[in-house]
Symmetry: C2
Subunit: 345 residues, 2 copies
Amino acid sequence: MSKEKEHTRISELGEFGLIDRLTKNIQLKNESTLKGVGDDAAVLNYGDKCVVFSTDLLTEGIHFNLMYVPLKHLGYKSVVVNLSDIFAMNAQPRQITVNIALSNKFSVEAVEELYSGIHLACEKYGIDLVGGDTTSSLTGLTISVSVLGEAAKDDLVYRSGAKEGDILCVSGDLGGAYMGLQLLERENEVFKVNDNMQPQLEGYDYILERQLKPETRPDVIAAFKKIGIKPTSMIDISDGLSSEIMHLCNGSKVGCRLDESKVPMDNQTKKMAEELNINPLVSALNGGEDYELLFTVSPEDYEKLKNDPDFTAIGEMVNESAGAHLIAAGGSEIPLQAQGWNHQK
Amino acid sequence: MSKEKEHTRISELGEFGLIDRLTKNIQLKNESTLKGVGDDAAVLNYGDKCVVFSTDLLTEGIHFNLMYVPLKHLGYKSVVVNLSDIFAMNAQPRQITVNIALSNKFSVEAVEELYSGIHLACEKYGIDLVGGDTTSSLTGLTISVSVLGEAAKDDLVYRSGAKEGDILCVSGDLGGAYMGLQLLERENEVFKVNDNMQPQLEGYDYILERQLKPETRPDVIAAFKKIGIKPTSMIDISDGLSSEIMHLCNGSKVGCRLDESKVPMDNQTKKMAEELNINPLVSALNGGEDYELLFTVSPEDYEKLKNDPDFTAIGEMVNESAGAHLIAAGGSEIPLQAQGWNHQK
């Protein structure tokens, strides 16, 4: 790296800018590649069914803090976040591979604890662990999971099918995982100052579970099938509602009006936000890690699911020229922004 | 991790012992999973063709040293090592995903340099880059590549089909990558003491390329097809000949007699070994990273390939009870041992 002339900081481009720069010139060469970079998963055609392929990387100190994240939970979550990408394609996950890089601070028992969470998630979601790589690391723990799933070609839902007039819906509630993280961070800071202090976590079991042991939503995919609808576009909420809406808008060439008052949030999320003097909406818009499904449906299909309490209509897709906005309580319109990660240090 | 009672060091089990402990209780649940953990790649059945799925993880300081490994070469190699696993199944690689974790020392241009190598390997081998994840790291660079390939079910070659009497063959020559690494390490040590010293690399272009920009062997797979043979078992040489032979023996329940005098090595490999006062055979047996294909064929099929100078018969598979041995020049028999990684620190 000593010979470099230019040094553009990655933070100048941001995550999405960097990915765009690295992948914009890719020309697909294989017949079996139906969809490459740019959705929750790639789509491949190997016969009767389509194969859906996705992957994620979790690094210690960035995605998790082993001071308060139990290894079993971490293993579980590392699988769940990948399955979520497959459900976001309206597909069924089937197999995963797990790569881990371990520093010498890990004992065999610690690795087994991590794997017990991986196996538990495989058990719960009916997934086969079919391979992987374990290796040394000079520093912390890194976990990379790849997942394969399947779907009939016509069942696949991309980020690109939303139309003007479609209803924007979300499953479950949002912001809980982020507020759970804030609580864990706060108690960890207290602990660092005085390690006799017991963490104050009572009454926040829901948001702690959202952070530490999130679930993904096969039931949502099953519900679509049962009531006979197919979303026009879909994505999972890993980076926060705001980013994900922007992905659907960009993918589908539409705009969006997101109704602030409709964004579903649990009482614990709101209570924690109040305690920490944060606007709870921020946790939903920019917090991320909810692993709920955000999707659009035609107004006709919306009629079929509107009575299910697990779904909330939170906005409407509009013409691309109108842009993507949050409509606040007083009627003011605030442009939505996509946030990826940025280097903190 | 503070509550742990037992602390078994990973080095007590070794890589293969750890993997065995983590995966021995897996029960496959999906019809589409034909082969899980335990070969170069998993095998999945999604229709007319089988999908072959493999993954690898490379970490800075363990798998590569950025003091002397150019980023473009690193990108290239990180793809090649994965493709090699697919060819080792007698299958064709088609798609990859690439996950990278980056510390803030990397500029956009440095990441582009890495990706230029990734793209070059995709171009050369006809592979589509279809997805991945880029993220921050608090420390060094981590690269995780996953690869999908395809094969007709009957064409797949596993580690498990070798029979007593089969001939053990290898493509190309061995030990070069390891001797290239020794040379680079030596010159790096010199440079650390005196950074005005120019590295002495002349006359060693072949072993340097074997280490820095290895290729994989689609031509071997093509040759099998052309001459109409199918190996009875196959594996790629990533950890060293000794380990890979043990994998074939264990997978196929056979023993092996490896003829020391037949192990193919390039003159540069031997010369460098002499210069460093190392037995060159050690680089072939335990060096690894050659990414050649090690396979067994029936004696009849061996007749069809024995005139191809790219293949060398190096031994014979024998009854399991006889074990796996290196037959040295004087006729003495030395038991082969499988080496995986062990934690260095």
